[in-house]
């Protein structure tokens, strides 16, 4: 083959790497100092692109030229930096000591809010920005044309790296940031006001994200999806490089950039998967990334954790009444309400399965959608390609998901805290990418259609009863496991792994088993889901599905048994209620989640339990068999 082609491909890889690095550097710096995985970093990136679009428009109308263009880029980055300060003051400052889940959800809520703010301000269309004056042409590289702007960008990444190096080694602020990354408390004991330092770090992180987004404008139009797309890539780069390491991020960006440039030649089918595969491999070999350090302590570790009380007669009465209500519901509910109830039951099972490992096992999964979606896809593929009947496909769904959970779980449970959450996310993205790219088998973006229930279950009422029976059976089993030695063992490991190990429990094995059980249950929910919809597409595997489950658990209360069910009901109904009312339901959801995290960290059922002691029996009042 033509060597010039390879040279150009290599340069393409370098340009990609440069962008990846600029988009990730801020994320890793913010994590290093604050220990918060900031989802809103993607929003900053997107805002950078949109602001640059508007500013460049204004400036270049006033005076066309390079100064106007670069001035717009720089100003956009500065404005985004100021927004970073706002985020620190309003949100992050309140959650530095909160468990990871709260931090992840709070910053994701900001993502939702910003998405709708952007749509309100700039609309949903792609906005193509101006090209950089003076860099519009091509250069000849080994006889091939290579865009000047790309060439310039190849130098931009190392330039930013150099600037950061100078900042971190030649300024007091930079030295303090590095010191705080190593030992926050000691920096405080030496008289440094951490709050100010954190504010400064958020400015820097957001500035870099805004800069990366603004520089992207001449390459690719500003669009409302760029936030989630970039954050996923930035996570990969940050995690591979080692969270908190700027140099690590640079190396990781080079690795991913070149891998994508050449990977597309060798494995054109799996370019999306490739990055996540690399990330999974790196985390398995080096659990803290290329240049990362172990985290001092996980946030969740110090919590006492919730206990389990025996049911009171009042509680049992409540559940029986609810069950009776669910049984007679089809007598007076219309078709639409039944459809909604089916969804609610399925998501109840999904959320319950997540909390089975999260609340009761201390394993924060950020990719639970993988198991729900694999159940759904497993069933759909069996129906579509192999003409399985619904019954068989429904049975296979949890097995497909469970097998994946068994494999992924074995690797995930070796880690803890944020790293574990990131690895679960990576696996979910791998599954998502496969579903997206393997068009012949999965239907790709369009998914699969015509996955309907068997004829006997075709009526909405019958399918409702089927869903009711299966999901309640799933929930009931998990519920029982929580009260059985199995659930106690999981909780023992969550409370104190060292103590659990010293009384005969293998902590990792127990976490692995619980992870697998949870995956099986999620897969069951996925199987029910696909037949209720009649079709499936990769969205079911995407980040928002995982976040939905986390939100349900959070709304209901992590440290409760029934919370996830209440959360699933509330979120499902809320979406159903809010979505038709406003175009901007994401913002409404974002504000609700944010309010929830900041104001009611215990969730709904947690609050109820505090207010109404009868609902959750206190130890003193517990009835005890002799």
């Amino acid at each position: 083959m033509d060597p010039g082609f390879f040279v150009v491909q290599f340069l393409n890889g370098l340009a990609t790497a440069s962008f990846l690095f600029m988009a990730s550097a801020g994320l890793t710096i913010v994590f290093g100092v604050t220990r918060i995985v900031n989802f809103a970093h993607g929003s900053f990136y997107m805002l950078g692109a949109y602001l640059a679009y508007t500013l460049a428009g204004i400036f270049m109308d006033a005076a066309y030229g390079a100064m106007s263009f670069w001035g717009a880029i720089f100003l956009a980055a500065v404005i985004v930096g100021l927004l970073g300060i706002l985020l620190e003051l309003v949100v992050l400052r309140r959650i530095y000591d909160a468990p990871e889940l709260f931090q992840l959800l709070a910053t994701f809520a900001v993502v939702l809010i910003v998405q709708d703010l952007v749509r309100m301000t700039w609309g949903g269309e792609d906005l193509l920005g101006p090209r950089a004056p003076g860099l519009k042409s091509f250069v000849l590289v080994a006889g091939r044309r290579f865009p000047e702007y790309e060439l310039a960008m190849i130098f931009a990444g190392p330039l930013v790296l150099g600037a950061l190096w100078l900042l971190f080694h030649r300024t007091r602020f930079g030295v303090l940031v590095r010191a705080a990354t190593l030992d926050r408390e000691m920096v405080g004991a030496l008289g440094v006001n951490q709050a100010l330092l954190f504010t400064g770090v958020l400015f820097l992180g957001a500035f870099l994200a805004g800069l990366a987004g603004a520089l992207q404008l001449p390459r690719e139009p500003a669009n409302p999806y760029m936030d989630v797309n970039i954050i996923v890539e930035a996570f990969v780069v940050t995690v591979i490089g080692g969270m908190g390491s700027v140099t690590g991020a640079f190396l990781a960006a080079l690795l991913i950039g070149e891998l994508q440039a050449f990977g597309i030649l060798v494995f054109p089918k799996i370019t999306l998967v490739l990055a996540f595969l690399v990330m999974a491999v790196v985390l398995i070999v080096r659990p803290y990334g290329l240049l990362g350090r172990p985290q001092a302590e996980s946030h969740g570790a110090a919590r006492a954790g919730a206990g389990l009380a025996a049911g009171t007669p009042l509680q049992r009465g409540f559940w029986l009444a609810l069950l009776a209500l669910l049984l007679v519901l089809p007598l007076f509910a219309d078709e639409y309400s039944l459809k909604l109830m089916i969804e609610l039951l399925i998501f109840g099972l999904f959320a319950f399965s997540l909390n089975f490992i999260m609340g009761w096992g201390g394993i924060v999964s950020f990719g639970h959608a993988a198991y729900f979606g694999l159940g759904a896809y497993g069933a759909a593929l069996l129906v579509h390609h192999f003409a399985w009947p619904m019954e068989g496909a429904l049975l296979a769904a949890p097995l497909v998901a469970g097998t994946a959970a068994l494999v992924f779980g074995a690797l995930c449970v070796r880690l803890s805290g944020v790293y574990l959450a990131m690895l679960t996310l990576a696996f979910a993205q791998i599954v998502y990418a496969v579903a997206f790219q393997w068009v012949e088998f999965t239907g790709g973006d369009n998914g699969l259609i015509g996955i309907w229930p068997a004829s006997w279950a075709a009526s909405r009422t019958v399918y409702y009863y089927l869903t009711l029976a299966v999901s309640l059976a799933g929930i009931g089993l998990l519920w029982r496991f929580l009260y059985a030695p199995f659930g106690y063992s999981s909780r023992a490991v969550r409370d104190s792994a060292i103590r659990a190990d010293a009384i005969g429990i293998d902590p990792r094995y127990q976490r692995w088993l619980a992870f697998t059980v949870s995956g099986i249950a999620a897969g069951l929910g996925g199987g029910l889901y696909v037949f209720s919809k009649g079709n499936i597409d990769p969205e079911v595997l995407a980040i928002p599905t995982s976040v939905d489950a986390l939100t349900m658990v959070l709304i209901g209360g992590v440290e409760t048994v029934t919370g996830p069910l209440a959360g699933a009901a509330l979120l499902t109904l809320l979406k159903d209620f809010v979505m038709p009312l406003t175009l901007y339901w994401k913002m409404v959801m974002g504000v609700l989640i944010l309010g929830m995290v900041l104001a009611f960290p215990k969730g709904l059922v947690g609050i109820l339990a505090d207010r109404l002691p009868a609902l959750q029996a206190r130890p003193a009042e517990r009835e005890r068999p002799a």
Binding site: A304, G305, A306, G307, L308, A310, R480, F481, Y483, A484, P485, F486, G487, Y488, S489, R491, A492, R494, D495, S496, I498, R499, A500, D501, A502, I503, G504, I505, D506, Q510, L513, P619, A620, R622, R624, P625
Partner: protein, 251 residues
Amino acid sequence: MTLLRVERLHKSFGGFEAVRDVGFTLEAGERLAIIGPNGAGKSTCFNMIGGQLRPDHGRVLLDGEDITGLPPRAVWRKGVGRTFQIAAAFGSMTVAENVQMALMNHHGRARALFPLARELYREEALALLERVGIRDQAERFCSMLAYGDIKRVELAVALAHDPRLLLMDEPTAGMAPAERHALMRLVSAIVAERGIAVLFTEHDMDVVFAYADRILVINRGRLIAEGPPEKVRADREVQAIYLGSTVESPA
């Protein structure tokens, strides 16, 4: 009868030799204390016996059986119960459930999916709690307990599988002075009635000299003295390390 034999145990972290060729024996029914300044290697030594750390070389023999390098759960199965310096109980469980958890493991049912855990081995658990004097706290969550009582929960948990050897890392740390003696009297009584052995580290010299049959002194990873309390108290080198004259050359 020699219950525990430790031979030339060695562990270094990076270039730092935390424990250097430590060896000793422990007889059934004996209370053996390990003392030494901070960073002397007591906890490292302890964690190598309990399985939390793997020694670089050396052997740990329990009743003649080699248990070197086994993980904690396996060491536990061989009949070693252990308590921790910073008491580790399952905060989300009641006192009784903590002990039941250990009993479920002992009876091989810790992964059962269907029985109600809180009803399993309850009587046995309550009997153990009775023995350590906190039967009246059985229904309280561990997260709400006074620290001294958590130490007793740990003791009950450590006794659940009828161990031959108890490892207690600073059993009285963090307790009020009066509670310390009560706890150690209890431990002594249990050791006597069950004929088991106890190996403990301790900072409180009152406790060490009142309750140890024999004392090992470790400094900079080395065993520097060993013997009954009077002999150790009179040892010049021990005096020196506790009062800080630097008789040793730099590490």
